[in-house]
Symmetry: C2
Subunit: 374 residues, 2 copies
Amino acid sequence: MEGAKGPQGRRLPAARDAAEPSDLPDEAPLAGGLRVRLKDVAAHAGVSRATVSLVLRKSPLVKAETRAKVEEAMAGLGYVYNRSAANLRSGASRTVGLVLCEITTPNFAQLTAGIDEVLGTEGYMAFIGNAAEDAARQREVLVRMQEHGVDGLVVVASENTRADALEEGACARMPCVLAQRRVEGFPADYVGPDYGAGMELITEHLIGLGHRNIAFIGGVRRIAPLAERMAGFHRALRRHKLKSGAVVPCAVIDRSSGYTAARELLAKGDIPSAIVCYNDVVAFGVMLALDERGLVPGRDVAVVGCDDVDEAGLHRPALTTFTTDPRVVGREAARLLLRRIAHPDRPREEIIVPPRLVIRQSCGAANRPTGGAR
Amino acid sequence: MEGAKGPQGRRLPAARDAAEPSDLPDEAPLAGGLRVRLKDVAAHAGVSRATVSLVLRKSPLVKAETRAKVEEAMAGLGYVYNRSAANLRSGASRTVGLVLCEITTPNFAQLTAGIDEVLGTEGYMAFIGNAAEDAARQREVLVRMQEHGVDGLVVVASENTRADALEEGACARMPCVLAQRRVEGFPADYVGPDYGAGMELITEHLIGLGHRNIAFIGGVRRIAPLAERMAGFHRALRRHKLKSGAVVPCAVIDRSSGYTAARELLAKGDIPSAIVCYNDVVAFGVMLALDERGLVPGRDVAVVGCDDVDEAGLHRPALTTFTTDPRVVGREAARLLLRRIAHPDRPREEIIVPPRLVIRQSCGAANRPTGGAR
DNA sequence: CGCAGCATTTGGATCGATCTAAATTTTCGT
DNA sequence: ACGAAAATTTAGATCGATCCAAATGCTGCG
């Protein structure tokens, strides 16, 4: 019933129908340049299309012998699975969208790597979309992801993202895991570090070293992680009945704004004995500013960060900080998403990755003034 | 002719056929939770499916009036385009694969951002795949990308990638742009920085400052960028009839291996007057090692890098280096790929992004010992 | 008025897989 | 050896868009 169509049947790859009898040399991978289809594999293996389909999906229904025959045919013909076709019929694309508030944040490379790692083992593939901290672009990206029929989403929400923005973006209508940043009022699965506990831990550490005037630098953005951090910071202070030192926001979360913020603080003559920074990158900027005023971080003023980026251990002085393990967060987010895709009705889940305090020199606690690389 | 099928027709979303008469309230976005199809839009707008399809693809054939009617219907029903279906028929997925040798390299976040930026404006979406510098994983990723029917690829090849590996991976059979790393013998489009010219420029700069014993640290990997850099380095030396100082490889290209390599060099008592580093990150490690031996980078030993990462300007001493503009490379790679997709037969193209020398303190040329943030 | 020529719209086949229910083969107990 | 149950395979409809050729509507001109 093949190759005997109406007056149509002409396509770009010209003589498809003519070649139909399927007499291509047995071991020719991709003979004519035409894409090999499931149908071709079936013909070559002497079974039906349905059987080949079952083999592809590793169904236990097919006899081992048949499976071998089909697999041989696939290898021989150089068959490449067409997921678009499969997707159309089955509705599952084995595709996941990764929506990042800002790709270039150092954290996110690790996060992405963790996600990719897990997805890869399951044969999933991630679309990447950068919202660049912009609500409109985030929306756009979400729409495009939907068009491509992703099975689910990992979202690191942009600044100022409200729950309704995500709902509109269809995050509510499909499996969706928020990573690193919670979105108030949007009850999706969540995976993230325990910023609060980390801040509490590291502030406790400073207090234990005798610090009483502790400032906080960094973070003006309206995102959940800042609130969580401040809460942890204040919890520790409260426990010791201490008042917070100066709190200086930053315009953006990066090295140079940490630098600027610290200069501002020091210029006022208000020199705290310790500075807790929003994250490591801000801390580097802060240390730079201290340095410029002749203050040695770790001796004159303790400085601590958050994240434990690669650089932290190699900076001089090496930075005391706590881990937020973005790679682990990525892995867990991917795993959770896959679970959610498999069981859309399971109860909401939250995975909080515990912080680990990493004591180095910048807090003044370590006694080796210089040391090896990590 | 609808809703009157054989004894089949039962699907997961239960009563699809029953709801077919399409009497959903005019402005109800996503009434029953069933996905709205092109067919629904057509019915709602009172035109044929073909016409709606033309509207979707912005064809100039449809009358403005009709277009408006259709667009209204789409908005009213909350229609979401299904690219899998379109892809199956048309063969174009508006999807591109981004294969990275190692996501976590700082460069690659910028590269990815640049690519995403350009693709976004054209409605394309990128799959991301991390090869983690592993040939087998790279192969796997390439296969998966093919399965998903990408229209083209941007590849930053993993270490030791041979041309035949890419050919096998189908890069030869579809639009493919190599970025940042050339692959010998694989004549695809290429976009990358001019590592050679940059190295030449910066080495010249050191020679101009009077340096005669210039070492090179970093790079053992079998990738093209190292060869290009070494060539540039040697070109400059040759022009001034100088012999190369020590050349010390690194196990990996990162801060700590730069540190280790420099320690090794210094331990031998061979103290060069200047050190050219494989890149900025290695340079930071090298400066750390110098520091440890009481040598001040920029005063006792000049140190220069390559890339001009964000950190370079904020490090103390600020690093003299040259730009490799990964974001620009990403943008150009994406543009080139789109051009290639549109015209598969156009001649091969190479885009070389010129370097810019950034003179700061670590080479000893700048006279301000400290300075503001960039 | 008739008809060529253009602008617009349309029916129906099609892409390549999956799904369902039914057909076929095999296994096994008696 | 027979028939029922289990194991395996299959035909044909189907997913939701695009493509093509052909149909329709409209305009203007001789």
